[in-house]
């Protein structure tokens, strides 16, 4: 495993007195893409909140190695764009909050939205809105990117394009990424390692190394090797429920 940038040790967490995650430990390597899957309510989003410091654990330790909290960017389930700001300003928002300026054009080009600078979020499709949200997350120049079911509600074809786009960005920019998903295709396509969580109170029940070559293209999803990993992931998820 690559040198870790994030280490979670024996974390128990939840809301009020209800425990969602119990004694969870994991490590995210530098430049590694890790997918977290599991049944609904198993604490996948809670894990993202813990890493992003939006929730404090009851016990255990979350450690960033060589980075601070400012190196983490989060992309939520809904794009959460500000409808009163144009695409360009939405993307520049994280930098503006820090009193910095950034080159929004290069970010928008990276997510395939060049020429959309002056449009408003309500003028964009669901897939385009998610691309803007991704560009905004990248505008934070993160070392660790956390994605909480980022492509939910997007049609199949757009989703595949977004997988390819995200995979390319993560590979080229060497960003460590932890994302939660319900979709085994998405998880296998994007991840280097896939973790399957069990039912509440959640513990880690399986860990799958996905040694598919990078950079990954959409054609990969038609190969037998890819399908083998999807089947394996499905079996574990089935067992976990």
């Amino acid at each position: 495993m690559k040198e870790p940038v994030l280490q979670i040790t024996n974390v128990t967490a939840g809301y009020n007195s209800s425990i969602v995650l119990k004694n969870l430990s994991l490590k995210l390597g530098n430049g590694e893409v890790m997918a977290v899957m599991g049944p609904s309510g198993c604490g996948k989003s809670t894990l993202i909140k813990l890493i992003a410091n939006l929730l404090q654990p009851f016990s255990g330790c979350i450690q960033l190695i060589g980075y601070d909290m400012r190196s983490i960017a989060v992309m939520f389930q809904s794009p959460l764009l500000q409808p009163w700001l144009c695409v360009e300003t939405n993307v520049a928002l994280p930098a503006r909050l820090q009193g910095k300026t950034i080159d929004t054009n290069s970010l928008l080009t990276a997510v395939g939205l060049s020429g959309f600078e002056k449009r408003y979020p309500f003028e964009l499709s669901g897939g385009e809105q998610r691309r803007v949200a991704l560009a905004r997350a990248l505008a934070q120049s993160p070392s660790i990117l956390c994605l909480d079911e980022p492509f939910t509600g997007v049609d199949e074809l757009t989703r595949e394009r977004l997988f390819e786009l995200l995979s390319g960005i993560l590979y080229n920019q060497k960003i460590s990424c932890l994302f939660v998903s319900h979709n085994p295709y998405e998880s296998v396509f994007l991840a280097d390692r896939l973790l399957v969580l069990g039912r509440k109170p959640t513990t880690l029940i399986a860990e799958i190394e996905i040694d598919l070559e990078r950079p990954r293209r959409a054609e990969l999803m038609k190969t037998q090797q890819f399908y083998k990993f999807v089947t394996l992931a499905r079996e574990y998820i089935h067992d976990s429920t």
Partner: protein, 263 residues
């Protein structure tokens, strides 16, 4: 397309003119047919005649009242916006002040107006305060609703972008609350005129309220009708101004934003 829109607009204006014409005709016919004395119910012609004869005094009184109302509304806007920012920064403050606001709202302005005249005199300032008090609750309540409409997901997103609390207020809470604020302003703008008039009823040296009261002493019903029409017109105009501003500033609110809000 633009031509089609213009045609619809002209058609709508014509429709309103026709309805007003019908109402005036009905009013004129009703008063003459039933021989209602003009001190009880004047004809539209008499009302129009009084307006033409005394237009200068009406203009002066309207300006006085509108100036008081605008000052009251402006002060209410400033105060409630400051209060809104405080609400956004402290939920506890919002909970406590909201209760006090409801209590304040339940006191009728008519009961307060004599006190205001005693404290601030029969001049300009007591009317401004009356207008401010009337506008205060709808504006403060709308800020409060707007602040509550901000989803936790949106706040969390800002925290992950390392935004300070003031930045969350500036970049998220205030813009998100604007549609609610404008709903409150649509109520408050016509109410500000009402507040100024109520203040003038109790003690004044000018303004529409003062005119209504003085005409009522001499049973000049036609003049009172003119005043009522002016007040109604001012209310409609103020409402329309707010609606126009709302369309320009909160242009995004009618669009399909459900997916963007995380709701």
């Amino acid at each position: 397309m633009i031509q089609h829109k213009n045609t619809i607009k002209y058609y709508r204006v014509l429709k309103y003119i026709f309805i007003i014409f019908l109402l005036i005709t009905f009013w004129q016919l009703a008063v003459t047919t039933f021989s209602i004395p003009d001190y009880l119910f004047p004809t539209p012609f008499q009302v129009f005649h009084r307006f033409i004869a005394n237009w200068a005094s009406y203009f002066s009184a309207t300006s006085t009242t509108l100036f008081e109302a605008i000052c009251g509304l402006f002060l209410a806007l400033v105060l409630t916006t400051c209060l809104g920012i405080c609400f956004a920064l402290s939920k506890t403050l919002e909970q406590h002040v909201s209760t006090a606001l409801v209590a304040m709202q339940s006191i009728p302005i008519l009961a307060l107006a004599p006190l205001l005249t005693m404290w601030f005199g029969p001049g300009f300032f007591s009317k401004v305060v009356a207008s401010l008090l009337v506008c205060f609750f709808p504006l403060a309540a709308s800020w409060s609703s707007g602040i509550q409409s901000v989803s936790n997901d949106e706040k969390e997103l800002f925290y992950t972008m390392n935004a300070s609390r003031l930045q969350v207020v500036r970049w998220l809470i205030i813009p998100r609350s604007l549609p609610f604020f404008f709903s409150g302003l649509k109520v408050a703008a016509p109410l500000s005129i009402l507040g100024a008039i109520v203040g003038e009823f109790v003690g004044a040296i000018g303004g529409i309220g003062f005119l209504i009261l003085s005409h009522s002493y001499y049973a000049r019903t036609a003049d009172m009708f003119v005043c009522i029409f002016i007040v109604a017109l001012a209310g409609i105009v103020s409402y329309k101004i707010v609606v126009t501003l709302e369309r320009k500033i909160v242009f995004w609110q009618d669009k399909n934003t459900a997916g963007l809000l995380g709701k």
